[in-house]
Symmetry: C3
Subunit: 209 residues, 3 copies
């Protein structure tokens, strides 16, 4: 992982940690709850990816910078944030989209390096991007947002396909990674600013009255 990607990865980790800490604040959790929600949101996806691939100990045990950064971020959120609305706005969503793009490419990269097939790399990229948010929502007792709305996971899938495809066509790693990140980002931003979303698959609920 080169320095630029590493810096972006830490940036994404901090942004995801903020979104976890805010979710904890909405449920009036104590500082430990805030830390846990920040941690699972920020490193949950990569942790599940690493245990499934068997590349253990997981990434944040060999490089503890991720954990220190999440702790610092959670502390800053508790100290400074009084008005979460400002952090749920458009700018924060753009930062989140950047994090999503980096996480996707790093996840796909790690899968390929462990010897997995391209299709698995796409899955692992998507997992790195979205599983942290899914665990956050389950702990907050909500049906995970990512399963229901907007272009979010779809951006990861397209980014992952772009990455493995360009690599397959012989493009260099750095160029392929940049293209895939741009693709993920562009699609996610289209979701945010144009309100694009996929059509829902809706069945009657036989359990409802």
């Amino acid at each position: 992982m080169n320095d630029f990607i590493y810096a972006m990865d830490l940036f994404g980790t901090a942004v995801f940690a903020i979104s976890g800490a805010l979710a904890a604040g909405r449920l009036r959790m104590d500082p430990f709850g805030v830390l846990v929600l920040a941690l699972v949101t920020a490193v949950g996806g990569g942790t599940v990816r690493d245990t499934i691939l068997g590349t253990t100990p997981v990434f944040w045990i060999t490089d503890t910078n991720y954990i220190w950064l999440v702790m610092l971020t959670a502390a800053l959120v508790m100290a400074l944030v009084r008005c979460p609305r400002r952090l749920s706005g458009r700018w924060f969503q753009v930062a989140d989209a950047l994090g999503l793009a980096v996480f996707t490419v790093i996840g796909a990269q790690k899968a390929l390096m462990s010897g997995a097939e391209p299709m698995i790399a796409v899955m692992m990229g998507t997992m790195t991007g979205v599983v942290g948010g899914v665990i956050r929502d389950v702990l907050c007792r909500e049906v995970p947002l990512v399963l229901r709305t907007e272009i979010y996971a779809t951006a990861c899938i397209v980014g992952g396909i772009l990455y493995t495809l360009t690599l397959h066509l012989g493009m260099g790693t750095e160029l392929a990674a940049s293209l895939a990140m741009l693709g993920t980002l562009a699609l996610r931003l289209a979701g945010i600013f144009l309100g694009l979303s996929l059509p829902a698959f809706a069945l009657d609920n036989p359990k409802s009255p």
Copy 2:
């Protein structure tokens, strides 16, 4: 794993994927949500089993047929199913029971092959059969059905015991596997058609008013 068991395993995977996709449809999820629910239901149990046993990368990374099959199944469900009632009927439950029986025996088999004790093999067989459905229910924000009702997990436990016991008595692997699958199936069908269930352990809820 011989060809017959492998074919049955793929059959079970498809049936479990259908039940996940239908749960997603009832919550009006988007196509990504449908795919995720189909995946966790179909391969979630085996994934947890493999990470706990340490036989990583998990099974669907070394044999991607499982994932392709789940994707195809999820796509077909979205394209074709309009009336889920037909798929919640008796025939579907019988197909699900077949899947459960195969998953149980395969789970127990993999545990024994990794060197675990018979009791652990019974646990791993049961886990392979039921954990996917548990994760599906948690993501749908329901108390997992399998913890509350009918002869479901019980069929796995009995099947696992049958398998390890007949092996211990010197029976050949294929015969033991067939017997255990038939036992699981018979017990589960008894649960479906005779309405058998275990008595609940009910305590007063001190939190209720």
Copy 3:
């Protein structure tokens, strides 16, 4: 692990299993549900720790005493308990605090033995203590209690820091472990008997009306 710590570990396992079985009883689960809730509460934390550290197969596969003990405990709870109020009282909380203290130190110890840094050891100790209860609460469809209330996880964190710090200062393993257990216990008992808790981080919920 010396004999005293091992005995304490089994004691903690049984106490945690009781709390899982009681949660299952409150939701009127069947005997399988009771067993599952007892298992995840008692061994869930250590299982997640072992898969993240990559020390697989996880601890209860190599030493099945833990599982047999949980099964026995769950069976006894179902056979004997009619009045859960008695088991939610102060004495049970003290027993739970003892379990928490041992789990914390054992978790930190295993992390250090696998070569992890002190900060990771503190995390793994805390995880061993609280993750089982978190999974129990998620399966029961509750926002995990430990994220919201009292001095619980905080006691684990302080105990973990005490353990790694005293080891770092050159103290012997047994003395360090004893000190850390006493510290965790004392802090947790202060939470129970003095009603201490951390201030919540409360944000307006923009989703509420």
